[in-house]
């Protein structure tokens, strides 16, 4: 029990932030029209590619002689980049088509 209380005490800033972000996330896209559902999904997909920052840190901190960590880190950065770049490019292409259709 004490561990749990300590956990909340030590991380209260982050816990507040998480709760506020949950409400913000719901509020921000609350009125999206249904034609934009797929592009929005794709855009959100690109944004969670921010996980690549973690991959960069892991890779940069790895001991250059520890090949397992290096290879796993390399893969993590590669996959994260695919997520970010692919995500944004795909979203842009979807929205481009959307624009042409309307005009």
């Amino acid at each position: 029990m004490e561990t749990i209380f300590n956990f909340f005490e030590a991380n209260q800033e982050i816990i507040y932030m998480v709760i506020l972000m949950i409400f913000l996330g719901i509020e921000v896209i609350g009125r999206v029209p249904s034609v934009l559902h797929t592009p929005l999904m794709s855009g959100a997909n690109a944004i969670h590619g921010v996980v690549i920052i973690g991959a960069l840190i892991v890779m940069g901190e790895a001991d250059p002689t520890n090949y397992v960590a290096l290879i796993l880190g390399f893969l993590a950065v590669l996959l994260g980049t695919l997520n970010v770049v692919g995500g944004f490019v795909v979203t842009d292409r979807m929205l481009e088509m959307f624009k042409k259709k309307r005009s």
């Binding site: 932030m17 949950i22 034609v35 929005l40 999904m41 690109a46 996980v51 892991v58 940069g60 944004f88």
Partner: protein
């Protein structure tokens, strides 16, 4: 000074994610919103590479490897998303989502290897193990969703699948608890078993769901990857990862519900399919 510059960069990145999502939900501003979020992501990535300081005050190393991975990823990502047919867009999104999940999963694997010989505090452990479980489920599930949408994988369901899935999920949670309480010699074994089960769960979670419901499932997996990214944010005390991840987690969940509504169905109905009423829903 460089450290505080990086703080400002992460702050700007977080704001661009919020503004980007907001603009993406209006037809006139959507495209610009996407570009703004992409810009925020760009500065966050290069800021991390050049300004991040480790706990011992050193800059990040292995830059050659890092840039090799970045360039290969960027080229592959651009080519594959420029070439894909408009009708195949959802499966491409699913594939990229799986890559993000796998990224979170790998981070957790490496961080566990770092920490396994030391006593680990609860918050740190939770971030690692949740990132692993959620990332693995999202990775395996997205790959199955991709295979289904591209017609390479048919729906597979067997009797009692929902109960099987629920049990499997319970075992994964138990595995995480056992790992936390295990001693140094046994913890890795339990950790890798939990990891394997999470991957299997991701496969069995998506397998029975009908092909027409795939976009909803992809949206759900998308928000899961967001949560996995947020776990990484907790691990490194990185506010850009945390806000971006939670934002996508929350917005993605709402979007999943909205997509179900647009199809006139409930989320429960999509996940359980025509087997309504099973306990496995939760």
């Amino acid at each position: 000074m460089f450290a505080s510059l990086l703080t400002i960069i992460y702050l700007i990145a977080s704001v661009t994610f919020i503004v980007g999502l907001k603009m993406l939900s209006h037809p006139e501003t959507a495209r610009r919103g996407n570009l703004i979020a992409a810009g925020g992501m760009g500065i966050a990535i290069f800021g991390t590479i050049f300004l991040y300081k480790t706990s011992t005050g050193e800059h990040l190393g292995n830059l050659v490897w890092m840039f090799a991975a970045l360039i290969i990823g960027a080229v592959l990502g651009t080519i594959s998303s420029k070439k894909v047919k408009m009708t195949a867009m959802p499966e491409m999104v699913s594939l990229f989502n799986g890559m993000g999940g796998a990224c979170a999963m790998l981070i957790s694997l490496i961080e566990f290897n770092h920490a396994k010989n030391t006593t680990i505090e609860l918050g740190h452990f939770l971030a690692i193990v949740l990132g692993l479980i959620i990332g693995s489920i999202s990775f395996a599930g997205s790959i199955i969703a991709y295979l289904k949408l591209s017609g390479k994988q048919k729906d597979i369901s067997f009797k009692g699948q929902h109960i099987f899935n629920a049990l499997l999920f319970l075992i994964i949670l138990v595995g995480a608890v056992i790992t936390y309480n295990a001693d140094v010699t046994m913890a890795p074994t339990y950790f890798y078993i939990t990891f394997a089960l999470a991957v299997i769960y991701g496969v069995f979670f998506v397998l029975p769901i009908g092909g027409a419901d795939m976009p909803v499932v992809i949206s759900l997996l998308n928000s899961l990857t967001g949560v996995a990214a947020a776990c990484g944010g907790f691990l490194y005390n990185n506010k850009a990862m945390l806000t971006g991840g939670i934002l996508v987690g929350a917005a993605g969940t709402l979007l999943t519900v909205l997509m179900c509504k647009a199809m006139n169905r409930s989320l429960l109905n999509v996940i359980i399919g025509n087997w309504g009423g099973s306990v496995a829903a939760s």
